[in-house]
């Protein structure tokens, strides 16, 4: 088992009342899963994804990631954990505008203190794998949305995470580009990467092996 959430709840206090963002979530992920989180706007999909990605905390419950109790870890350990094992893909790509494709891919490696030759070969592999060698010196603004998202995925993958969290990865793309991205995810999943995606679309949902439906912070 890769991770497990037990009775996880998250709420905000407003006017003396608790408003639940997530309520009593129980949920586990095995290595190699491809999970789609579905639900209408405001149902807590992104919040759940952020909790899993350890970008957000929660108020109650237990979260175990690779046998570590995330809820009892210190902030520093927690961030080390997600930095090591999790890659993020965003709806609006979140590439750094001032960096070229190559430099954007290299960035996470820099923070993880990889040596220069190792960085070079990893970046080269990624460029090859996603077929974007020709684009390596371009800036994000010079790429199409689909290409930007490919770079985003490549960046998420470069440090070989166990888990990819994708928040509506095709939300800003047209249907053809979206299909290509989903194909890429399927391929990655086949290679053993665990993927959790948040999506609105039934079509994208179909790529996954398991679906989790959320409504008003509850699993349904």
């Amino acid at each position: 088992m890769l991770l497990q959430l037990k009775n996880v709840s998250k709420w905000v206090q407003s006017g003396g009342q608790k408003t639940f963002l997530l309520k009593d979530i129980n949920f586990w992920v095995n290595e190699g899963d491809f999970i789609s989180i579905m639900g209408p706007s405001g149902s807590g999909k992104s919040t759940l994804l952020n909790v899993i990605g350890m970008l957000d905390g929660f108020n109650e419950g237990e979260y175990t990631f690779l046998d570590e109790s995330v809820h009892s870890l210190k902030e520093k350990h927690r961030s080390n954990l997600y930095k090591q094992y999790i890659g993020f893909v965003f709806q609006s790509y979140h590439l750094i505008d001032e960096l070229t494709v190559k430099e954007n891919l290299e960035m996470p490696l820099l923070y993880k203190k990889y040596g220069s030759s190792e960085r070079k070969s990893l970046v080269g592999d990624m460029l090859d794998r996603f077929n974007i060698v020709g684009k390596k010196d371009l800036f994000p603004s010079q790429l199409s949305g689909g290409q930007q998202q490919l770079v985003g995925i490549a960046r998420a993958l470069i440090a070989s995470p166990k888990l990819i969290l994708a928040d509506e990865p095709t939300g800003n793309l047209n249907s053809k580009q979206g299909e290509e991205i989903m194909e890429t995810f399927t391929q990655l999943n086949k290679e053993g990467v665990t993927i959790i995606q948040v999506t609105h679309s039934e079509k994208n949902m179909a790529y996954g092996s398991r679906v989790i439906n959320l409504l008003d912070g509850n699993l349904v």
């Binding site: 960096l99 996470p108 960046r155």
Partner: protein, 804 residues
């Protein structure tokens, strides 16, 4: 990794050209202003510093006024040095100077006028740590009739031949023949005692160009500068007490005191200084302005980059998610700041170098960034750099504190804390700007006020001519020659009147004689006060437009001399006569003679309006020091041919002579020159400070508009007019100006009030000054803010909302 940081920094700067420009340019201006002012301030503080200078003290006079002693003349008696050396073991040595004004020096037939000459004891070289380029430093000034020249002066006379052993003639009323015994390097400019040549002190004994009394050792003629070299282990306060309590001259109404040589230039402003000194007040004010400008530009930078960092929240989020540590983010942000600041520093340096020549001609100093002053330059650069690092850290820390999940969603709003910090910064900026504005207005108003003051005499169109007659003639022949000259000059149609005097308003103290000890008309003897007087011809008062309150001017007589005196109102009050009319015919006794007051003139400003009016006395003598000429006002515009005519007349009477002229009103104005410059500097640097602040405001507004783009769009969609939106965007800034104004008023009032304390005649700090400064600050703010916000407010709201 670092190369990447630098790469990003540069790309970021290039991408955000307006932001980069505002930041770099604003900082560069701030740095350049700071450096320029500070090298001036450092230069002013660098006066009279050499190896051993900390052990050199000047002796000055103190006079009893009422029950306490007050600082008096900078000059003392020629017995002071030898006596102190003998009586006080702490005094290692002394040097006396007898200063000569601009003096003709003759080599064969070549005559040059050289200023800043002195007779000096041979101990000068040791005490002032000056060596000789040629000649023997131990003997150069030992023998009478020896002269030591600076290299520049020597070059003028001898070009490249060896001057040592040659003879020169120095004129002061009568010539003295002297032998060149040494050449010294030019004395640095930053000394209060400028020297172009030195004559051995004992030359004075045989020089009949100097009055007999001054040639002999005396305790009653204080016309000598005395400097003491004190043993370094001395407790100065103990020595000072001993000196204060000594009474070698046997006169309880005066005493001697000592002051450190290094302090003279900035802290001493006594009668009979060797030159007009600087002012510590001015240096402090300018330093304050320098710091304000630097801080303003740094605040600007902090503010802009913090605001701008909101835009980069997304990037920070991405980096955090990609695994960046907080320290790494801070480091990156600091590196970006350093890149920007170094660029600003380079630009600032370039601006400084470009402006330095202009600045030098403005300050009339030789300021430079030369290597000799490396510690100074380093301390200046150090403070600049420290400020920059501090300025870089704040935005870096703000930036690195963003929570990644929020930053990625673009939900970063600065905390109320951060907002307060920025508000504080803006208010501080406004505060500094308003204080500077008020300061500028007060300084300008004071300068104008001084100019507009009636000085009590009419100096316009008055020309003064003095020259040294190089031929030796008896006094009676001289007098005849001058009578002939006066006749000739008066024949010139451009000349309304002509007279003689040995001083005139604007000359300062140097040409006035002073004495103590006078018997009032009622018989009381006063030995405490100093009385200033000068010598004039009978028609001098009329020519200078002096107004008589009682009596009249001197009756001309064939001797050209009388025991009558003309005094001013202040003088009448001082001698205890209530009404000026009663003073006429009253007899006074000084110099063991009786004198009769024949006229009382209205008080006039002899020393410029900066100084209070002193009691002054005019005596009728055959003085020939200055030929005073009143020109016809119609011809004043074309004065050059008149000067040429006068010069011709002069040299027809005195073929062998020098000829100098100046306009009295210009010389009088020159007394305010330093103040004028100060006011100019104040204005220029205030304008720069406002420019920097406006630049920052501009940048800040443009980002506020970007940040509030969506809000503006929504408001417009819901029917808000452009004016309404302008109001929303402006209201905060107006509030901040208001707060800054309230704080600025008392601060500025206090500071400027203490500045005005320096002047005898003060302008008032009226309420409209504050109102004006406030309105100006508000106006500049509204203009800057509205320009930007108008663009934002008049845009199509759809553009603003589409991004979401």
């Amino acid at each position: 990794m670092y190369t990447l940081y630098f790469k990003i920094a540069l790309r970021y700067l290039l991408k955000n050209k307006l932001y980069s420009f505002i930041n770099i340019f604003g900082l560069a201006i701030g740095i350049a202003s700071f450096v320029l002012i500070m090298i001036y301030a450092n230069y002013e503080r660098s006066y009279d510093k050499f190896e051993g200078s900390e052990n050199v003290y000047r002796v000055y006079m103190e006079y009893l006024e009422g029950n306490s002693f007050v600082p008096g003349d900078a000059q003392s008696y020629n017995m002071v040095g030898p006596t102190f050396k003998k009586e006080f073991p702490e005094v290692i040595d002394f040097v006396r100077f007898y200063k000569l004004e601009e003096t003709p020096i003759e080599l064969d037939d070549k005559v040059l006028e050289v200023n800043n000459g002195s007779l000096a004891d041979h101990s000068y070289f040791d005490i002032f740590n000056v060596g000789l380029v040629k000649g023997d430093v131990h003997t150069a000034l030992k023998e009478p009739n020896s002269i030591v020249l600076t290299e520049t002066v020597a070059k003028k006379f001898f070009s490249d031949s060896n001057p040592v052993g040659q003879t020169l003639r120095v004129y002061r009323n009568k010539p003295v023949t002297v032998k060149v015994t040494g050449i010294m390097k030019d004395i640095p400019e930053n000394t209060h005692f400028k020297i172009n040549y030195l004559l051995s002190y004992n030359t004075i004994v045989g020089w009949d160009g100097i009055s007999k009394n001054q040639r002999e050792p005396n305790w009653n003629n204080n016309v000598y500068f005395t400097y003491l070299k004190i043993n370094p282990n001395t407790n100065i306060e103990v020595l000072r007490k001993k000196i204060l309590n000594s009474n070698f001259e046997d006169n309880v109404d005066e005493r001697h005191n000592i002051e450190p040589l290094e302090n003279i230039h900035l802290y001493s402003n006594k009668p009979y200084e060797a030159e007009a000194n600087g002012s510590i007040m001015r240096v402090k004010f300018l330093t304050a302005i320098a710091i304000i400008i630097l801080v303003l530009s740094l605040l600007n930078y902090i503010n802009l980059s913090t605001t701008k960092s909101l835009e980069r929240a997304k990037e920070v989020g991405v980096r955090k998610v990609a695994g960046a540590q907080k320290q790494q983010l801070i480091l990156q942000s600091v590196i970006e700041s350093v890149v920007l600041n170094v660029l600003a520093l380079i630009l600032g340096g370039i601006i400084t170098l470009i402006l330095l020549p202009v600045y030098n001609s403005f300050t009339e100093k030789v300021l430079s960034l030369e290597l000799g002053s490396i510690p100074n330059v380093l301390s200046i650069l150090g403070s600049v750099f420290l400020g920059m690092i501090l300025a870089a850290l704040y935005p870096a820390i703000v930036l690195s504190n963003y929570s990644p999940s929020k930053a990625l969603k673009g939900k970063v709003r600065t905390s109320s804390n951060g907002l307060n910090v920025r508000k504080g910064l803006i208010i501080t900026q406004f505060l500094a700007t308003i204080v500077l504005l008020i300061g500028t207005i007060v300084v300008t108003k004071q300068i104008n006020f001084m100019r507009e003051q009636s000085i009590g005499v009419n100096l316009s169109n008055v020309l003064t001519i003095n020259g040294e007659i190089l031929t030796e003639k008896s006094d009676s022949i001289f007098n005849n020659d001058f009578a002939a000259l006066l006749n000739e000059v008066k024949k010139n149609p451009s000349v309304t009147d002509a007279s003689f005097s040995n001083s005139y308003p604007g000359c300062g103290y140097e040409r006035l004689s002073s004495f103590m000890g006078i018997t009032y008309p009622d018989g009381t003897l006063d030995e405490k006060k100093v009385w200033y007087n000068y010598e004039v011809d009978h028609n001098y008062t009329a020519m200078m437009g002096m107004e008589f309150i009682a009596g009249q001017s001197f009756y001309s007589n064939s001797k050209g001399y009388s025991r009558d005196i003309v005094v001013n109102e202040k003088f009448v009050k001082e001698i205890g006569v209530k009404d000026s009319h009663d003073a006429i015919g009253k007899k006074l006794k000084f110099w063991s003679r009786d004198w009769t007051i024949v006229g009382v003139i209205k008080d006039y400003h002899h020393f410029g309006v900066k100084n209070p009016v002193l009691p002054i006395m005019l005596r009728y003598t055959p003085t020939k020091d200055f030929l005073m000429i009143k020109l016809n006002s119609k011809t004043i515009a074309e004065y050059r041919p008149i000067i040429a005519q006068l010069r011709k007349t002069w040299s027809s009477v005195f073929p062998e002579s020098t000829f100098n002229y100046s306009f009295v009103d210009q010389k009088f104005e020159a007394q305010y020159e330093e103040d004028n410059k100060f006011s100019d500097a104040f204005r220029i640097f205030t304008a720069l400070a406002i420019g920097i602040a406006a630049l920052g405001l501009f940048g800040l507004t443009s980002y506020t508009c970007i940040q509030r783009k969506k809000e503006i769009g929504i408001r417009k969609v819901n029917g808000a007019s452009v004016v309404k939106i302008l109001k929303i965007l402006n209201i905060d800034f107006i509030k901040w100006v208001g707060i800054a104004f309230v704080i600025a008023v008392p601060v500025a009032w206090y500071v400027m009030n203490s500045w005005l304390e320096n002047f005898a005649v003060k302008t008032s700090i009226s309420w409209w000054i504050f109102a004006f400064a406030g309105i100006m600050a508000l106006g500049i703010t509204l203009l800057t803010v509205s320009w930007q916000s108008f663009i934002a407010a008049s845009g199509n709201p759809v553009d603003a909302l589409r991004d979401e």
